[in-house]
């Protein structure tokens, strides 16, 4: 029994790299959870995916210039992600093409460019690092970056929370009382890119979006207001990080996929057990209430 409990804490007591990975997951989850909820509510679930791929060429250019440097790769990734978001947004605004189509076009260009750069100039090991991340090699500098991004995310969301929600629930109303919500939309897209950059060096560009979308998709089955959904999503993300790290430590699995698969399990459990439209609630015969 004590050995079992020990297994829950010992890895983090014993190894500083595990502690750092845990703190990184905590910060990532706190930022990614709420951002993911807002992404799903804005019907942009797949755009998170698109943006995560868009980050690649920037990170690759950063890598080419400065080697495996966190600062260079993060700055490059951020610049590439924001460029794709802006170009897609501009095309939508000025041509009327739907944003999902313009996003898809620009992220594919960006992704191909990224793979081209990495494969011509780096080794395949580097490509694997960028694609899948190395959460167990998180150093103090990257920890600081991830924590700063999480703090900035929560502060900014608090500032733009009300208009952001109105803009996504009833854009016509926001337009009629204030102005177009473009500035809020833009600020939000920047937050998405920032969180993907925070996630990509821990989980890799392919996995980063997982910690954003899976907890958010799961939260919908537990809560029915935006703030409570965001809280549930952050909780699921943090817990997935912790359990995923344990799983990867005890069974010698790569940490990124272990974390995302844990979040995936949380999603499947939520679909089944969640009190809001979960499968059991839906199909369990329950006596209806008096009128």
């Amino acid at each position: 029994m004590s050995g079992w409990i020990d297994g829950l804490f010992a890895p983090f007591v014993e190894f500083s790299f595990m502690r750092r990975a845990l703190v990184a997951c905590l910060a990532l989850g706190l930022g990614c959870g709420p951002v993911g909820v807002l992404l799903t509510l804005r019907r942009m679930s797949l755009m998170g995916d698109a943006l995560s791929h868009a980050v690649l060429p920037g990170a690759a250019i950063g890598f080419l210039i400065a080697g495996f440097s966190l600062t260079a790769m993060s700055l490059g990734g951020f610049a590439a992600g924001v460029t794709v978001a802006l170009l897609a947004g501009l095309v939508t605004r000025f041509t009327g093409q739907r944003e999902d189509a313009s996003f898809a076009a620009f992220y594919l260009i960006s992704l191909a460019l990224g793979v081209l750069i990495v494969s011509t100039r780096g080794s395949s090991v580097d490509l694997l690092h960028v694609l899948f991340g190395t959460i167990l090699a998180v150093d103090d500098a990257s920890l600081l970056l991830v924590a700063s991004i999480a703090s900035l995310t929560l502060l900014t969301l608090a500032l733009i929370y009300r208009p952001l929600i109105v803009e996504c629930f009833d854009p016509g109303f926001l337009q009629s009382v204030q102005a177009r919500g473009t500035a809020y939309h833009l600020a939000f897209l920047i937050l998405v890119v920032l969180n993907l950059v925070a996630g990509f060096q821990a989980l890799g560009t392919l996995m980063a979006v997982g910690l954003m979308m899976l907890p958010a998709a799961a939260a919908r089955f537990w809560a029915q207001e935006v703030w409570s959904m965001a809280a549930v999503a952050a909780g699921i993300a943090v817990l997935s990080g912790y359990l995923g790290l344990l799983l990867s430590y005890h069974h010698d699995l790569p940490s990124g996929p272990a974390i995302i698969l844990t979040a995936g399990m949380a999603y499947l459990l939520s679909i089944t057990l969640g009190p809001r439209d979960g499968l059991i609630v839906r199909f369990l015969p329950r006596q209806h209430l008096q009128t």
Binding site: L159, F169, D170, V177, A223, E225, V226, M229
Partner: protein, 247 residues
């Protein structure tokens, strides 16, 4: 006649160079209650959007100099709202206080009490905590009217407010419209039901891209005028020459 709350001066609004509202001039008197009727594609919704500044005027002017943006409330057609969104009825109604709370200011107990009172005025007592996705179309329209009550606007624009709404709700919400009229607010509503217009709306604008008639409802909704409105071609003429009327 009263002073105008809103006047249109040779207004043309186009989609892709095809006019949806064509050389329309006239005025909505301050405190008037006007219905806008006309066939599909007659430019009714377009006119409201242009008044709200959501569409640019191709030629002509819209003057509502005495009104600030916050003096105008606009209810677009329902399709644009996400009715599955996870938000409570009270939170939606509280948005009517936007002018007072904006993005950052707190909702005080007083503002909250006003929102509860507005919900009571549209007969939705005890609905505060309900998520909007549990409401029927009629109940949701009542929520939107409660929100407009809080906006306390001088000019109120309604785009097909009673389409697909049950008779009982329509009657209740028409009472709200009449109360606005009694408070000397200017109300403009796009409507389809001519009987409803004759019964409740003193003024009517009959629109078929161009204005067919505009004035007292009984003088506007004549068989002759309605026939002229119906003759408007719904399809665009792709080879139409440039309009020759002076800009």
């Amino acid at each position: 006649m009263n002073t105008a709350a809103l006047s249109l001066n040779n207004l043309t609004v186009c989609y892709d160079r095809h006019p949806a509202v064509h050389h329309l001039s006239g005025a909505f008197a301050s405190g008037s209650l006007t219905a806008i009727v006309g066939p599909n594609g007659a430019g009714k919704s377009t006119l409201l959007k242009a008044i709200m500044g959501l569409l640019p005027a191709t030629t002509g002017r819209i003057d509502h100099a005495a009104l600030a943006r916050s003096d105008i409330a606009y209810l677009p057609q329902q399709a644009q709202i996400d009715r599955q969104f996870p938000i409570t009825v009270l939170d939606v109604v509280l948005l009517g206080h936007w002018r007072r709370i904006g993005a950052l200011r707190a909702v005080t107990a007083e503002l909250r009490a006003k929102a509860v009172a507005a919900l009571a005025a549209v007969e939705l007592n005890d609905f505060q905590r309900r998520p909007i996705r549990s409401l029927s179309a009629g109940q949701f329209q009542r929520v939107l009217f409660a929100r407009m009550l809080l906006q306390d606007a001088r000019l109120i624009l309604l785009d097909e407010p009673f389409t697909a709404i049950d008779a009982r709700t329509t009657a209740d919400l028409l009472d709200v419209v009449r109360a606005w009229h009694a408070e000397r607010r200017t109300v403009i509503a796009v409507l389809h039901d001519l009987e409803q217009v004759r019964a409740h709306f003193p003024e009517t604008l009959l629109l078929a891209r161009s204005g067919i008639a505009w004035g007292r409802t009984a003088q506007v909704l004549t068989p002759d005028n309605l026939r002229r409105a119906r003759q408007m071609a719904e399809a665009w003429d792709e080879s139409a020459p440039p309009c020759a009327v002076d800009p």
